[in-house]
């Protein structure tokens, strides 16, 4: 038997530890070294879902209906799969719009409606109150169990444990939940404490489970084997009939939505989220937590039923009763602390969430409208805000306490919990619908919430009052005895669980009204704006300021912010705004729409979106643009996105086209330059012979008495120069023809040796004139090639006459060699002339490029011979190169393929 003071002392120690952790967490947060900036703490804080209802109530439910305690945890597991889609969007929206409660979220989505925010708050308070009292009841009941007092013997106020628990929890919530008014409403100390509590309750429950399975029994097989002997217990290992399946499905869906709709879950998962990416890990850590804390529920229930047959001990208290029955009092005490932590965690977060809602969405809007309070003239309202929140916490906790004193004894834990779940589920259509359906209207949301709430009251809350004696029993048979209106069997729908029954009707009413009214009513301008901000949270331009026109002075805005959040915080907020925008806010006189929007969001964090809008409107002239313009801007925005995507594609295409054009232009410019150069060179080359012809003609003309021998000589020069001129012009024309591709190509099969011999014969006179030797080094066999015979011969002749020109008369030796290669023939013309300097070798094939100084030494030839060779060979698909060591002769080699390429292929060859 545990002594009362031990239990009280342990509880006190535990609560002190909680205070210490929260204090430490807040201190670290103030120093900027957050302890909650990890996904593990985040996931653990979400486990505030598991309240004392889980801790004690699950066992109770499992004792009566087997696995049916599970849907309450399977639903959240299913929702966790979708967290990355749903919860992340909620977090993103809430951070953007500084949303701090579920009432604010819904009100903000539907045009920052004060009415809607108030309605959500009322539903939350009425719906959650039983849940809070459930926790208090659990603490006092289990305390009594521990002391083996008769449960329910509450005694006077001052001996009632739940009173003291409520007292200390209110203190905790006030200290760590409402420390200051902040735009973000992060309570790091509180979150740290909640995470710690999640660990404690998990370890405590698992410890009891391990004790039951391996301490009391001999493992799983032993426990279940004994249970199988009792048919009543063995029945607990089945899901049951079709109606049971219906309950299973409904409860799963219910708990699926409440994991994001319960005010406390919204608080920890959305408001207290410090980093969106934490959601990722929570997606599997939270289900893991749920698996672990539920693993031993059924074994404990089964063991309890076997140990305490005949209902001597309430199944809700098996977790404590089993260790106590086996004289493991320390374990029982630890389990009690676990249950206490489950209860306190829930109460703390829930009261903080409710106090924010009541303050921002119920009290402030009313106070701000009451002119006679002269709130508009108060210089600092942040103290008032804190006072309201603290008052709300005390009020909520004590309403919960009163509820448990007055009504609490008539229900099992699970039933009360599900009543609250059903209330919270009423938020789901407006909330989820609002995030994914732009067309949902304020009136639709209001109609849906009202319908759902009223049906919930009629089918769950009021009957529970009737059963507790607050209303006449006859209410359960339907008002005025009308059977069709029976609260637990509305319109004759019977045979279902009360909660399932209520959910079916309330969801039909809620969803039906929400969708129908939304479809039949119009959105106002601000609703349209908010709808697009919510639904398109992950897309594009998120500035609300686009929709606002008008002006306000910076001084007015600053004064407004200071009144609600205090001077120091206001200053910091403006400084941060200035830093991100690169302006000094204090130096401005008039605020732009962006700054007004910033102030509104800042205030929204402190007093809720609806009130913030009213307050900003009171100092700013002008308003949001009309509905028509809003539609235009929004349509514009979506069109702009589509256009910009098209533009991007276009501009990429254009870039490529431009690049091509630039290249083409470069080539054209280069060609143009070459052409100019060519023309100027040609004219220069033409002028030289012309000049000499003209000057000799003039001499002959001016001096008729010139002696005949000299005259003959001069005439000879004139004739030679004319020949040279003709040759030059012919070659220029030739080259132009080849390069332009207009030349006729007459492809025939020839023996390259014949071509070389003919060329040698044609140039024989030149060699004789200069007394030079020409040697032909031709193989006995050579492949035939298909080529234009005349052009090929022209190449060889050009090379031979070139060699003649540069060799010293009398000593010159020229060798022509033919080499048969695999894919063509190579012809090399070598001489023993002066050779070509290395620097000139690369340029020698260009037009009018001649070796030697053209200014001093009179070059022989036109400077076009090699250029023509190269052009011809390129056209035929061959190539030409030179090898030379200055002073030791030069060798020109060209390659010709077996089959000359067609003109088309030649056309495509680059560099022709």
């Amino acid at each position: 038997m545990l002594q009362g003071w031990i239990v009280v002392g342990a509880s006190f120690l535990y609560l002190s530890l909680l205070f210490a952790i929260a204090y430490w967490g807040d201190r670290r947060a103030d120093q900027g070294r957050s302890v909650i900036a990890t996904p593990y703490i985040y996931a653990l804080s979400i486990a505030v879902y598991c309240t004392s209802w889980t801790f004690y109530g699950s066992v109770g439910r499992a004792s009566s209906s087997g696995p049916h305690f599970l849907p309450i945890y399977l639903g959240p597991t299913l929702m966790a799969c979708l967290w990355w889609i749903v919860l992340r969007k909620m977090v993103r929206i809430s951070k953007r719009n500084r949303i701090t409660s579920i009432a604010d979220f819904i009100s903000s989505r539907y045009g920052k409606s004060t009415l809607l925010g108030g309605l959500v708050t009322v539903i939350a308070v009425v719906g959650i109150m039983p849940y809070i009292s459930l926790q208090l009841k659990a603490v006092s009941t289990t305390f009594n169990v521990l002391l083996s007092a008769a449960p329910g013997e509450a005694g006077s106020l001052f001996t009632d444990t739940s009173f003291y628990v409520a007292l200390s929890l209110a203190a905790f919530s006030i200290l760590f939940g409402t420390r200051h008014i902040d735009a973000s409403e992060h309570h790091e100390g509180m979150v740290a404490a909640i995470a710690f509590e999640s660990v404690v309750k998990l370890i405590a429950f698992v410890a009891v489970g391990v004790f039951v399975v391996w301490g009391v029994h001999d493992g799983w097989g032993d426990l279940f084997g004994k249970a199988a002997l009792d048919p009543a217990i063995a029945k607990l290992f089945t899901i049951g009939s079709v109606a049971d399946h219906g309950n299973w499905v409904v409860i799963t869906l219910l708990s699926m939505v409440v994991i994001i709709c319960l005010p406390r879950q919204f608080q920890v998962a959305v408001v207290e989220n410090v980093d969106e990416t934490h959601i990722r890990k929570a997606v599997w850590l939270f289900p893991l937590y749920l698996v672990l804390i539920n693993l031993f529920v059924l074994p404990i229930a089964v063991a309890g039923l076997m140990r305490f047959p005949g209902g001597t001990v309430h199944p809700d208290t098996f977790v404590l009763a089993l260790p106590m029955a086996h004289q493991f009092e320390a374990l029982a005490l630890f389990a009690f602390i676990g249950g206490l932590s489950a209860a306190t965690g829930m109460i703390i977060v829930e009261t903080v969430a409710l106090s924010t809602m009541v303050c921002n969405d119920l009290v402030m809007p009313v106070l701000l409208r009451l002119r006679w309070l002269k709130l508009h003239e108060r210089s600092d309202l942040s103290r008032l805000l804190l006072a309201i929140r603290r008052g709300t916490i005390v009020l909520v906790v004590y309403l919960g306490y009163l509820y448990v004193r007055l009504i609490g004894e008539s229900f099992a834990l699970v039933t009360i919990g599900l009543v609250s779940f059903a209330a919270a589920a009423q938020f789901a259509p407006a909330m989820l619908g609002g995030m994914f359906w732009k067309g949902a209207t304020q009136k639709g949301a209001f109609a849906g919430l009202t319908a759902g709430f009223l049906i919930w009251m009629y089918t769950l809350l009021l009957p529970s009052f009737a059963r507790s004696g607050w209303l006449p029993e006859s209410f359960l048979d339907g008002p005025f005895g009308i059977g069709l209106l029976e609260p637990y069997a509305l319109f004759g729908l019977s045979g279902l669980d009360h909660v399932t029954h209520s959910l079916i009707w309330s969801m039909i009413g809620n969803l039906g009204a929400y969708v129908m009214v939304s479809l039949l009513t119009q959105q106002s301008a601000i609703e349209r704006i908010q709808a697009s901000l919510f639904v398109d949270a992950f897309r594009g331009d998120q500035r609300g300021s686009r929709f606002w026109r008008g002006s306000a002075t910076v001084a007015d805005l600053t004064a407004l912010v200071v009144r609600f959040v205090g001077a120091e915080r206001a200053e910091r907020a403006f400084a941060r705004y200035g830093r991100t925008r690169g302006v000094d806010v204090a130096s401005l006189r008039d605020a732009d729409a962006d700054l007004v929007n910033f102030v509104e969001r800042l205030l929204a964090g402190a007093i809720g979106a609806a009130s913030a809008r009213v307050m900003v409107a009171s100092v700013a002239q002008g308003e949001i643009v009309g509905l028509h313009e809003v539609m235009e801007i929004l349509d514009e925005a979506s069109q702009v996105i589509a256009y910009s995507q098209q533009l991007e594609t276009k501009s990429r295409e254009l870039e490529i086209a431009t690049e091509d054009l630039r290249d083409a232009n470069e080539r054209l410019k280069e060609l143009d330059r070459l052409k100019d150069e060519f023309i100027s060179t040609v004219t220069h080359e033409l002028r030289t012979p012309l000049t000499s012809i003209r000057s000799f003609s003039e001499i002959l003309h001016d001096n008729p008495e010139i002696d005949p021998e000299q005259r003959q000589q001069f005439l000879m020069i004139i004739v030679r120069e004319s020949e040279r001129l003709t040759r030059l012009i012919n070659q220029v024309l030739d080259l132009a023809k080849i390069e332009s591709g207009n030349a006729q190509w007459d492809i025939v099969t020839v023996d390259p040796r014949d071509v070389i011999r003919d060329a040698a014969a044609a140039t024989g006179q030149l060699f004789k004139d200069k007394a030079m030797i020409l040697r032909l080094d031709l193989p006995d066999e050579a492949p035939v090639v298909r080529t234009d015979r005349d052009r090929l011969m022209q190449v060889v002749i050009n090379l031979l006459s070139n060699a003649v020109k540069f060799c010293e008369a009398g000593r010159g030796e020229v060798t022509v060699r033919l080499l048969a290669l695999r894919d063509g023939v190579e012809v090399c013309v070598g001489d023993n002339g002066p050779g070509i300097p290395l620097a000139a070798q690369s340029k020698i094939f260009e037009k009018f490029q001649q070796v030697g100084d053209t200014m001093t030494a009179k070059p022989e030839g036109t400077g076009l011979g090699l250029a023509i060779c190269r052009s011809i060979l390129n056209r035929l698909g061959g190539s030409i190169r030179v090898e030379s060591t200055p002073g030791r002769g030069a060798t020109f080699c060209f390659f010709h393929p077996l089959e000359a390429q067609t003109a088309e292929a030649a056309e495509a060859r680059p560099g022709v």
């Binding site: 087997g66 299913l78 799969c81 500084r98 799983w220 063995a234």
Partner: protein
């Protein structure tokens, strides 16, 4: 002629579906596992190695789903679009 070993692999090179699709699939898996009719199949009673089939099935499926979630999350690349810096975390 021998086909190069990687020739048909191109079919499998389609863009791997994103985190959202995978988690959506996990959700559907959960629905199938925890709802009738599969539930009804395993909820009829019966024993396996001394442990009730319903208990074994529900927790087995639950743990398996959690594992699947863990695999999906931990193998996915880091989030591509975190909250833009324009919105500083308020403190």
């Amino acid at each position: 002629m021998a086909r190069p070993p990687h020739a048909h692999r191109g079919l499998r090179l389609a863009r791997p579906s994103g985190l959202t699709e995978r988690l959506g699939a996990a959700f559907l898996l959960g629905l199938v596992l925890f709802m009738p009719p599969l539930l009804a199949v395993f909820g009829q009673g019966g024993w396996l190695a001394g442990i009730p089939v319903a208990f074994l099935y529900l927790f087995g499926a639950w743990i398996a789903l959690t594992l699947v979630l863990a695999l999906i999350i931990e193998r996915a690349p880091p989030d591509e679009a975190p909250l833009p810096p324009d919105e500083p975390a308020e403190r």
